[in-house]
Subunit: 330 residues, 2 copies
DNA sequence: GTGAAAGCGCTAACAC
DNA sequence: GTGTTAGCGCTTTCAC
């Protein structure tokens, strides 16, 4: 970590008996100095505990060694984002970059310059997201940005295919009338799921039963929605919940309505979490592999920065279905 | 956000027709320039879209405008930390500081200099935590650091008092034999809870029934522990779970053992989460108010940096008990 | 293969 | 009340 009296490049150069240019070149492996002096300088630097001053470096260079990570706070109650963050930080560390967090409480221009930005589930309506997309720094989004403007890179998962797989799975398990508790369409994810459900319903000539909820709705809203849905449509025999945490909140409502999960009502979630593995019964869910998604976003960003990836690159990140008791008709 | 061709202080000074010192002083409100020129410079800066280059600034000054936040990944599945992070970032933004994330995967000295560091639940055994505590940057920990060395500031909650309140609450609800599923003692929190439970048991002349689990244990371990506990001690009529997520994981085991929560077994958690509000029955829990804790850590750190707080300051952060159906004997 | 010097954008010390 | 100057620690010409 940091020393009490930071060791500068000049100190290293002096002790090693070379100029600071040579010291700099040796430590950065520029291929300019002889192997002998290089090793010598490196040894001296290590002995003195030298570590370069990033401020000086980024003042001189174009890059800062820092990437920004923006998450919409309204969505961040979940463990999904925590894993995502660690995926990003981990990959960034591998590229010797730090990660600073940008929130929607940040005023425009109030934060440090960054080499690039990762946007987790960018909300079309978020002004900070807007500003970031419009800025000149490379942006990678996790899921598409539904507003105007194109990020330099996009990492996405095939939510449509996975939701279809889930819906088919419900039908295979005996469901005939599948309802869908949707997230709002301000994110690409929410929009994709909603569209997929409607398309699927039409293709299978099933009347869609969809209720939409705003992000960040308290679970009482979830419960009111589901209560109303089950009342209005007693024939519903399967329910898929998009919002994180909704499926678990639904359980008491279902019970109160005199229905039994796994017997006369199947239940599934579009976001897996540890909690879902231990509800009674455990709930089938789509595993979004957030840590991998985070790493992949960072990887793409660094590829973009190094020129290994072209602007406009879109990469796909696999996700999985975790089948649990809630969708096995007893 | 950042401009394509960054506007420097010199540009502002030139356009405003003053020297760069005056421009600098005007923009930083140093009290050196006349009100008239100050307003003029500010207007020009705004018009040009000037924003100071933080690298240059931190190269010249002592400070960097960045604080570090370290979280132990092993504990970070929970929504607790996500809220904590946002509390920190929010307060930091209020002080015009950015937050960079430090993880235990970071190599020593591999990250940017920071003005201070916040350590969420520092693990005694984590080498990065060790290095940070030993470094010369001010450190604020959330909960005490149980190893050698003293951080500059500590934010803590009275977990002992709150756990006692919870235990008393269980007794008042009719419990006679309260078991405790403990977290390991590598964090202050885990240690405090464990000690409090044992003290309380002794004071009330009750035989302690304690099982300890390592942080990050999969929930199958939780379940095995509880199964064993209920088997070995059928008279247990209340269970308090320390690890985040454990209480929810316990429910199926309890049911399988033929016990009914709220009738012949009371259940409570030491960490509240949205999931606990919707289990069947909802589970009583201690609300740790993580967002407030995060903000308070940042506030203390900035007070330390500005000299408004003295080294060694310890501040207390209130927490609360959320009583739910799981601890109401039917 | 190595060194000297310029300068990134800013702030602080010292003029006037 | 304002300007001039000297660096912060590094990388990058350009010279030898």
């Amino acid at each position: 970590m940091s020393k009490d009296e930071p060791v500068t490049l000049i100190a290293v150069a002096r002790v090693a008996g070379v100029s600071k240019t040579t010291a700099s070149d040796a430590l950065r492996d520029s291929g300019r100095v002889s192997e002998r002096t290089k090793q010598h300088v490196i040894a001296v630097a290590r002995r003195l505990g030298y570590s370069p001053n990033p401020a000086a470096r980024s003042l001189r260079r174009a890059s800062t060694g820092v990437i920004g990570l923006h998450l919409p706070e309204i969505l961040t109650r979940s463990e999904y984002y925590m894993s995502f963050v660690f995926g990003v930080v981990d990959e960034a560390a591998r590229h010797n970059h730090d990660v600073t967090l940008l929130t929607s409480n940040h005023l425009p221009g109030s934060f440090h310059r960054v080499d690039g930005v990762i946007l987790g589930d960018p909300l079309e309506t978020d002004p900070v997201v807007r500003g970031l997309i419009d800025s000149s720094v490379p942006v990678v989004t996790c899921e598409r940005f539904t507003g105007e403007g194109a990020p330099a890179g996009v990492v996405l998962s095939d939510h449509a295919a996975m939701l279809e797989e889930l819906l088919d799975h419900l039908v295979a398990a005996g469901a005939r009338h599948v309802a869908f508790l949707a997230s709002s369409t301000v994110t690409d994810w929410g929009r994709t799921l909603q569209r997929t459900y409607l398309d699927w319903s039409e293709r299978h000539r099933r009347r869609p039963r969809l209720r939409e909820m705003a992000f960040g709705s308290p679970s009482t809203v979830t419960q009111d929605n589901v209560r109303a849905l089950l009342n209005a449509d007693p024939e519903v025999d399967a329910l898929v919940c998009a919002p994180d945490g909704a499926a678990a909140a639904v359980l008491p409502v279902v019970r109160a309505a005199g229905r039994t999960i796994g017997r006369d009502l199947l239940l599934a979630s579009c976001v897996d979490s540890t909690a879902l593995a231990h509800t009674d019964p455990p709930i089938t869910a789509i595993d979004l592999r957030p840590r991998d998604a985070g790493s992949e976003c960072a990887r793409l960003l660094f590829d973009l920065l190094s020129g290994e990836a072209e602007t406009g690159t879109v990469r796909t990140q696999p996700i999985g279905l975790v089948e649990r008791a809630s969708t096995r008709m007893a």
